[in-house]
Symmetry: C2
Subunit: 225 residues, 2 copies
């Protein structure tokens, strides 16, 4: 983890497990419960929310009612770096599990950023990662088959969770429902079920008890193309 203890001040903001700042930033903490919309498309924010506990998803709703999950938010992650610069959230955020978020004042964050090239660049690097993941998702949805999409999603989450040491013995907490996987991959819940079951029957993974177990990582990575 980069930057722990920077500035040597009080409260702790950790971004995507890559930037953390100790500084005197005013923050408020808010609890949320599973399966609710916690931020709505087009809300205006003077502060930056960061999920500090639980899982959530960013969602874009189309005019016709269909919904696409853009990303899953894991504990410690900002909704999107864009909020640092653009007060209007153009996406919704739904909670997946119970949890809480903290909000940090934008102007304070920005003055901290402009005070340190170092911190500034770290935020930008988080932003950059966010973009890369977005571009990868575009390519995945445009070019990959259902099996590949599901494999990619599982691996993406796995790799992120592994970075924050949430993986033990090839097993990790996995609170997503199949509808979440469906909304993220552009597939039908019914078909997601078939894909996951086939992965299970092939001895590649198993999802049970809100946990994901990967038995054959190599095969899964090969499947993700």
């Amino acid at each position: 983890m980069l930057g722990t203890g920077l500035c040597g001040l009080q409260s702790d903001l950790e971004l995507d497990r890559r930037v953390s700042i100790n500084a005197e930033i005013s923050q408020t903490q808010v609890e949320f419960t599973a399966r609710h919309t916690i931020f709505r498309q087009n809300e205006i924010f003077d502060s930056i929310p960061v999920i500090c506990d639980g899982w959530a998803a960013t969602i874009l709703k189309l005019s016709n009612g269909r919904r696409q999950i853009l990303s899953f938010l894991l504990p410690g992650e900002m909704i999107t770096c864009r909020l640092l610069f653009d007060p209007q959230l153009h996406i919704s955020v739904d909670s997946i599990t119970d949890g809480c978020y903290r909000t940090y004042d934008r102007s304070q964050l920005r003055s901290i950023m402009s005070g340190s090239q170092n911190i500034f660049d770290r935020f930008l690097s988080v932003y950059s990662d966010e973009d890369r993941r977005g571009d990868q998702l575009i390519a995945t949805l445009g070019q990959r088959t259902a099996y590949e999409r599901v494999a990619c999603l599982l691996l993406d989450l796995w790799d992120r969770l592994e970075k924050s040491n949430k993986v033990t013995a090839n097993r990790v907490e996995f609170p997503l429902r199949q509808t979440h996987v469906a909304d993220a991959t552009g597939l039908t819940p019914v078909y997601v079920s078939r894909v996951l079951n086939e992965f299970r029957d092939d001895g590649i993974i198993e999802i049970s008890d809100r946990h994901l177990h990967i038995f054959d990582m190599e095969k899964l990575r090969r499947l993700a193309a």
Copy 2:
């Protein structure tokens, strides 16, 4: 157009038709010809290229050889704002028509940006737009049918070209081949042909002579859902 004449200095950088700076920035101009890769995935840049004439496309290549067009670059547009902060280009750029690009020194641009909150915010707003379009594309590829995808693409391009006054009498230059449309929508060239022909037969649009003519805008917007 915002910001023309800012700083009252020499050369002209216009971004996405939304930010333009007159300042003493060193730049070099490079010509390119149609149908070539002009920047390669993973190149490192000390300068920011801006397409100043002609069309190009940003492309992500997958391990298995498939390719996804992430965006079309119209005259005046930066490859991606990310390059302002991250020297590594993680995508390729292919030219579509003949044209040219200029490159601007990153550190110079950044010092201009840090010298003016105003200019800084404008760059960020361009960046923000880039992201929004990315998110829309994710939703389109994940949730929309072939007809909707093609309609969305045509409208997106149309709206951007209209903003820069390139549309006259419901007609606009349109140098894309059907393979470009296919790579951008995640469809097959063959199927794109069928979709476009159906649009034509329904009296909605016509593409001929490298121009796009929209006869029934309302119907097209309805099709785009």
